[in-house]
């Protein structure tokens, strides 16, 4: 029997996923530092929900449980969703979002390798549409909050929705810079004056920009480890920067500068961790460029003109739909063939 090649040199799927998780660690550290330890509970809850629901669905679908659970893909989905949610999201929100991501968006489509949409983004989009108020209410960074919550207070809030008696909800939360910018622009304020508000940092959101920078760090690690290709993040960030630069140049009073867009919201998370999901993304190098550029354009448009605070989730889902088309039309030239 001819079963060559006999040798391989490939990281297992679980190793790839593990490295993705590892690359998220700096971001999580920054997150904890800026927003408090509550995020750890959210991540743990999402992970637990993801693993249990994945196991249950595998059992239902009569698939082997151990190899599919240990591939860690469900954990990656859970972490990404948890990091995309507001830090003090109630426990049931985390559970509902994760369940939707794993059960509907992943397992019902056929499990690992068969989901046409990014599961974490499906979960996020469902929550955003269903519970818009909770999903847009972000806690203020600890350094800005009037009464910063301790770790136990955060846990208490997540699991029982109660604050310490002397703290009011408004003292804990604040609008995100992207959201604030949009509402203030509607009131005909100028960007330069809006960004004087305390929630704005040097580049993006006060505090949030450190988390974003940490994601960038993790993303560079993934590129260095050849877990992701440079095409996707580069095309995404470049397009987002170019697009915002054009608008900013035309009317700096009404549009934020490119750096703000790159360092705000989920830009970095999207560039290195979300659009780099291989299963729901394109496979050809040129296709990756188109895909990422498309996500960036849609993200910008939704951010600036849409009704949602950030546009990443919908932009990714819309572009996921275009993947077969992109792949079909970006086939590279095969050796010995002329270009069609």
């Amino acid at each position: 029997m001819n079963r060559s090649p006999y040798i391989t040199d490939a990281p297992a799927v679980s190793i790839i996923m593990l490295k993705v998780l590892l690359a998220l660690v700096p971001g999580i550290f920054a997150y904890v530092w800026i927003y408090g330890g509550g995020i750890l509970a959210t991540i743990a809850l999402a992970t637990f929900t993801a693993l249990v629901s994945e196991a249950a669905l595998l059992k239902l679908r009569q698939r082997p449980i151990r190899p599919y659970l240990s591939d860690l893909s469900a954990v990656v989905t859970a972490w990404l969703l948890a990091l995309a949610l507001p830090p003090l999201a109630p426990w049931w929100l985390v559970v509902v979002g994760t369940l939707f991501a794993i059960v509907i968006a992943k397992q019902l489509y056929g499990g690992l390798g068969y989901n046409p949409f990014n599961p974490a983004m499906v979960g996020y989009a469902v929550l955003l549409i269903s519970f818009p108020i909770i999903m847009t209410k972000w806690p203020a960074p600890l350094i800005l909050a009037q009464t910063p919550l301790g770790f136990m207070d955060q846990l208490h809030f997540i699991f029982s929705n109660t604050l310490p008696t002397d703290v009011k909800i408004d003292a804990v939360t604040s609008a995100t810079p992207l959201d604030y910018l949009k509402t203030q622009l509607m009131l005909n304020h100028e960007v330069s004056s809006i960004t004087q508000a305390p929630i704005f940092g040097v580049w993006g959101a006060k505090g949030g920009e450190f988390v974003t920078a940490a994601y960038l760090l993790g993303g560079l690690y993934l590129i260095q480890q050849r877990i992701i290709s440079w095409h996707l993040p580069t095309a995404f960030l470049a397009t987002l920067a170019a697009m915002s630069l054009v608008f900013y140049t035309v009317n700096p009073a009404h549009f934020a500068n490119p750096l703000f867009h790159l360092m705000s919201g989920a830009s970095m998370l999207c560039a290195f961790f979300i659009i780099t999901d291989p299963i729901s993304g394109p496979t050809t190098p040129r296709g990756k460029l188109y895909f990422a550029a498309g996500v960036a354009v849609l993200t910008y448009l939704i951010r600036v003109y849409g009704g949602y605070p950030d546009g990443v989730a919908f932009a990714v889902l819309i572009m996921n739909m275009c993947v077969p088309l992109i792949d079909m039309h970006t086939q590279p030239r095969v050796f010995g063939h002329t270009k069609n």
């Binding site: 001819n2 290709s229 010995g336």
Partner: protein, 657 residues
């Protein structure tokens, strides 16, 4: 396309003259070499074993014709089997001895199936037959190539394509560059490396001969940079030669693939539907040119080769091994296997295959034997789903999209796989090598390729069978048309006779037609003439029956005509008597009515039959002997069909007139 080729040719000429740069191909992988295992010891000559088993099928192409019989005593170098057909290679006695069997034995092939082998029991004298060296510089090229046909030399890099075909100057393509493939990119294999280190001079002499045979102007030796000793030896040996360069290419599997190597050393990308000779390049393996040198300079045919025995043997080394030597002898010479050895791989770990048993001989294709343990080659973990990471696409040296090909092959979507250039896949294994999900991708491609080839063959056979059937139907139709014409003529003369009293003479006309029926039936069915009487009776009875119902049927004449046509068309292979009879009845009826209607009906029928034949999709018969004779028959079909069409047209115009 031609302009591309010309451009490529020009590019090549320009570059070989001007620069020594090395080009790059897409993808490729860097497997661990493990070559030092078998390069510490020089090439050793393996002693003559007790028994030599020479498979007839050691090369690509037709099996050679056996020239000896059991019991014959043969001398070393004597031809045992002669090349038969164009693509074939001779087999020679590796030593002197007696032919003790010509029978089936397991051959080193992935299938593990037995095949015809000549068994030779050496007499120990190792006595050469008369050797006839050729003064190749002063001999006509055609003669040299013809002589090469009986050398038994095939591509020794592992492809085993008969060498005489590769130097055949058929005037179509002018080879200007000879590339010597010394890349040896597969891990573990070192036979070419050692050969170059030790016998570079002879290799270069062989290269000179091939260059002469091809009429090439340039020679390029392509060596991977993990063989510095071989590079040095070859550079030294080539030093004095004009238009010859040694190019060191980076160690990157599969640089030894001919098209990849051509690209590496010359920058020319051979178009996928062309051969390298179409752009003036020919590639030879170093061991092959050495064999060519020995054949012309010393008169020695191809009777041995260098084999790397490595892996879990105690003393990995390269040996000069006579073809037919049992594998066990080679293993013993390498100090035996280490404990834990489970099986043997022939070829390298990227493209080789498991030997079905240890009881196989060394053949012309055996460049390397690797003793395998589960430690060396761990069985792959169970395959996971494809996560579309496209690492395979990054590694593919042909720049294919293996993940798409996998998807199409897995779902038996073969047409799509072909569209995505499945047949450009060289099965190098790079995709599997890098797959995080451990999917045996190459196996899927091999499967898809074999399925497509099988389907193509079946389609070809079905097409042929259909053509033959159409020919048959056309012949029947032609005969029928001729008959119909006779009928019509007769009916016309009858009509003329009784033109003015037609209404009173219905019965006689009818009778005459009835008489005509058996006669035609007989002439149409000569094969069934034994039944003629029965047929006549049946036909007459039926005709009378029908005559009674004539007036009623006349109203529905058109419909019954169609029905009888359908029956004829549905049963073209059956003896078809009832159908034919009914057919004749219908004709008789029509003849009575009108001459023109009859001809029109015949044409209708011809059309219906053609349609039916086209839709029938007749099961192929005698598929195997699709010989030139059959093809001639098909071309005859077309001619006859054309004639039939013209006859129909002529009738049309006649009847209109």
């Amino acid at each position: 396309m031609n302009s591309i080729i010309q451009f490529a040719s020009k590019l090549l000429r320009g570059q070989t003259a001007e620069s020594a740069e090395v080009h790059k191909f897409h993808g490729g992988v860097h497997p661990e070499g493990h070559k030092q295992l078998s390069t510490t010891l020089p090439i050793a000559k393996l002693a003559i074993p007790q028994k030599l088993v020479l498979p007839l099928r050691q090369h690509v192409g037709y099996i050679p014709k056996v020239k000896v019989q059991v019991g014959d005593h043969v001398l070393k170098g004597q031809m045992l089997a002669e090349a038969e057909g164009t693509v074939s290679a001779a087999i020679h006695a590796p030593t002197s001895g007696t032919v003790t069997a010509i029978s089936e034995a397991i051959i080193p092939h992935p299938s593990g199936l037995p095949d015809m082998c000549i068994t030779l029991t050496p007499d120990g004298k190792d006595e050469w037959t008369t050797l006839r060296p050729t003064n190749w510089r002063n001999t006509d090229k055609k003669e040299l190539v013809a002589s090469l046909r009986s050398s038994g030399i095939v591509g020794l890099g592992g492809a085993t394509f008969p060498t005489h075909i590769k130097v055949r100057a058929d005037g179509k393509s002018q080879v200007h560059t000879l590339i010597l493939n010394a890349a040896e990119c597969e891990p573990y294999i070192t036979c070419d490396d050692m050969l170059m280190r030790e016998r570079a001079d002879e290799i270069v002499k062989g290269m000179e001969i091939v260059k002469f045979l091809l009429g090439a102007e340039n020679c390029i030796v392509g060596i991977e940079d993990n063989k510095p000793e071989a590079t040095a030896a070859m550079t030294e040996a080539c030093k004095a030669l004009p238009e010859t360069s040694v190019k060191v290419v980076p160690t990157l599997y599969p640089s030894g693939d001919a098209r990849r190597l051509i690209h590496l050393v010359s920058g020319v990308e051979i178009p996928h539907d062309k051969r390298s000779t179409d752009v003036g390049i020919q590639v030879f393996n170093v061991a092959t040119v050495l064999a060519i040198y020995r054949y012309f300079a010393l008169g020695e045919p191809s009777i041995d080769r260098i084999v790397t025995i490595t892996g879990s043997v105690n003393s990995p080394q390269n040996f000069k091994v006579l073809f037919g030597t049992p594998l066990q002898t080679l293993i013993d010479a390498a100090g035996g296997v280490q404990s834990g050895t489970t099986h043997f791989i022939m070829g390298g770990p990227m493209m080789g295959f498991d030997l079905p048993t240890i009881d196989v001989p060394i053949t012309k294709a055996a460049n390397c034997i690797i003793a395998a343990t589960p430690n060396l080659f761990a069985p792959p973990p169970p395959a996971m789903p494809c996560i579309r990471c496209a690492r395979c696409a990054d590694a593919c040296p042909v720049n294919l999209q293996p993940q798409e090909l996998y998807w199409f092959s897995k779902s038996d979507n073969f047409e799509k796989a072909r569209d995505y250039n499945l047949f450009d896949c060289i099965e190098c294994g790079c995709c599997t090598y890098v797959c995080p999900s451990n999917i045996p991708l190459v196996q899927y491609y091999r499967y898809a390729k074999s399925e497509i080839i099988a389907a193509d063959k079946a389609k070809e056979a079905a097409d042929l069978a259909r053509e033959r059937n159409e020919f048959r139907l056309a012949r029947i139709e032609r005969e029928k048309l001729e008959r119909a014409q006779k009928h019509a003529e007769r009916a016309a003369s009858n009509k003329a006779e009784s033109a003015k009293t037609e209404s009173t003479k219905v019965a006689p006309t009818k009778a005459e037609d009835v008489k005509a029926v058996p006669a035609t039936t007989e002439s149409e069915q000569p094969a069934s003439s034994t039944n003629t009487d029965d047929v006549k009776k049946a036909a007459i009875a039926a005709a009378i029956e029908r005559a009674k119902a004539l007036k009623a049927a006349a109203a529905q004449a058109g419909e019954s005509q169609k029905k009888s046509d359908a029956i004829t068309a549905d049963a073209p292979d059956a003896s078809g008597k009832p159908a034919q009879t009914e057919d004749e009845q219908a004709k008789a009826e029509q003849a009575k009515k009108d001459k023109q209607a009859l001809i029109a009906a015949a044409i209708e029928r011809a059309k219906a039959q053609k349609l039916a034949a086209a839709q029938a999709g007749i099961a192929p018969k005698n598929v195997e002997d699709a010989s030139p004779a059959v093809k001639a028959e098909i071309s005859e079909i077309d001619a006859i069909r054309e004639k039939a069409k013209q006859a129909v047209k002529a009738q049309d115009s006649d009847s209109e007139a």
